[in-house]
Symmetry: C2
Subunit: 225 residues, 2 copies
């Protein structure tokens, strides 16, 4: 379902080249539950951005369901991204002027869901994240962990084929974190591919497969395959 | 040194009042090492913002070194904040257009330190955070954990009397997180008051004293006193 072949991503700052991804080759089957770990700066977010069609590799190919995405133009990539991928960003990227409700509703509006059904689905999603009392708050009126939960609700509300989660419990206490993991793992059991970046070894052990990154390379790939 | 008396902070959203802090009374002695824990939304960041003079309470008094800060105007509060308090924000608040070096240098410039001495001190601070190779990167050219370390370096470079750290290792792998804790605890051993919000029970056990927050109140206060 997700096949990366010799993927490299190089950033240039001044005179210097940063090899954020260095010849990454991985195959991820539909419905897999994969955890990505590694030191700060090792390329985890960059890898997620490439998989999520938010960044293009400089070398190599990325096949999503046998389509060579590297050959698609931006509009086509954006279309696939919106319909097939849910992304929980490391720093959330919520729309500042919209309330929690409106932020979570956005993917449904883009998908043409009717107002009545939207209202119902957003209500359910916020309730599952224990955010019912904060539905009308804008991001600046929410705590860090509340913003994170809005970002998670937004990413999963369309039940996309692939969920990419960049440190989804980084700002959550253990209880809220476990609630979020139960929801994400519940979706994975329904067949949704779950790829999660985490710094928490305890969380990574719950995944079926674990990838370790070091300096832009996959240095380890363990778990049931 | 830090004395909060019946501190309350109420946010109003539409028709609703949110009691982010509810009659908080605490005394913190000079040089203490305090960890603050509690569920997402329990008021930890709001408490830190009040202590850091970034937010004013609606009720109660806040004495900093026996000065009733609640009676000071904004300019006076800003002066004290800049000279006495170092703040690591939950979401960093780095200046987007400045490099890592320039961001860390900012407090030194505001304090009138000479260019030569600034250069040296920033170089040391970035090296201690393992950011030497990223000195000329701007925040958008840094990973999440690299940004967090820039924020920490900026907060501690003046060795202020009080360091407030809101989840300082939230985006760091365990190794980088331990390096940061060693640096912060080293400063505490030199007499700097260290107040840290964390979701990590392991980290909170390293502190001399632990405060638990629930719904804006201090529900527990344990440790050597
Ligand atoms: N736009 C950019 N320009 C230059 N360098 C970049 C850019 N984005 C990322 N980098 C660099 O690429 C490397 C990988 O970054 P990435 O964000 O993928 O790391 P990460 O594994 O997610 O780290 P963290 O755990 O700290 O979030 C880092 O060393 C970073 O400095
Ligand atoms: N500007 C604001 N307007 C309205 N409500 C707010 C505002 N800022 C915070 N709140 C609310 O006040 C409560 C406390 O927020 P705070 O950011 O202090 O929580 P926290 O303990 O730091 O949470 P987290 O662990 O998620 O970071 C939350 O319920 C939040 O929704
Ligand atoms: Mg990252
Ligand atoms: Mg907070």
């Amino acid at each position: 379902m997700i096949r990366l072949n010799e993927i490299s991503r190089v950033f240039t700052v001044g005179e210097e080249d940063v090899h954020a991804l260095d010849r990454v080759t991985i195959d991820i089957a539909p419905g897999e539950y994969l955890a990505i770990m590694g030191p700060s700066g090792s390329g985890k977010s960059t890898l997620l951005n490439v998989i999520g069609l938010l960044d293009r590799p400089d070398y190599g190919e990325y096949y999503l369901d046998n389509v060579n995405t590297t050959e698609l133009d931006d509009d086509r990539q954006a279309f696939i991204r919106r319909h097939r991928i849910g992304f929980v960003f490391q720093f959330f990227h919520l729309v500042p002027r919209l309330t929690a409700t409106q932020n979570v509703e956005l993917p449904l509006i883009l998908a043409g869901v009717t107002p009545k059904e939207r209202k119902e689905r957003v209500k359910k999603a916020l309730a599952s994240m224990e955010l019912t009392n904060r539905s009308d708050h804008r991001p600046d009126q929410l705590s860090g962990g509340q913003r994170q939960r809005v970002a998670i609700a937004r990413a999963i509300i369309m039940e996309p084929g692939v969920i990419l989660a960049d440190e989804p419990t980084g700002n959550l206490d253990r209880t809220s974190g476990m609630e979020v993991m139960n929801i994400l793992e519940g979706l994975n059991r329904k067949g949704i591919t779950l790829i999660m970046v985490t710094h928490d070894p305890g969380l990574s052990k719950r995944a079926g497969r674990r990838i370790q990154m070091t300096d832009g390379r996959v240095s380890e790939d363990t778990g049931l395959r």
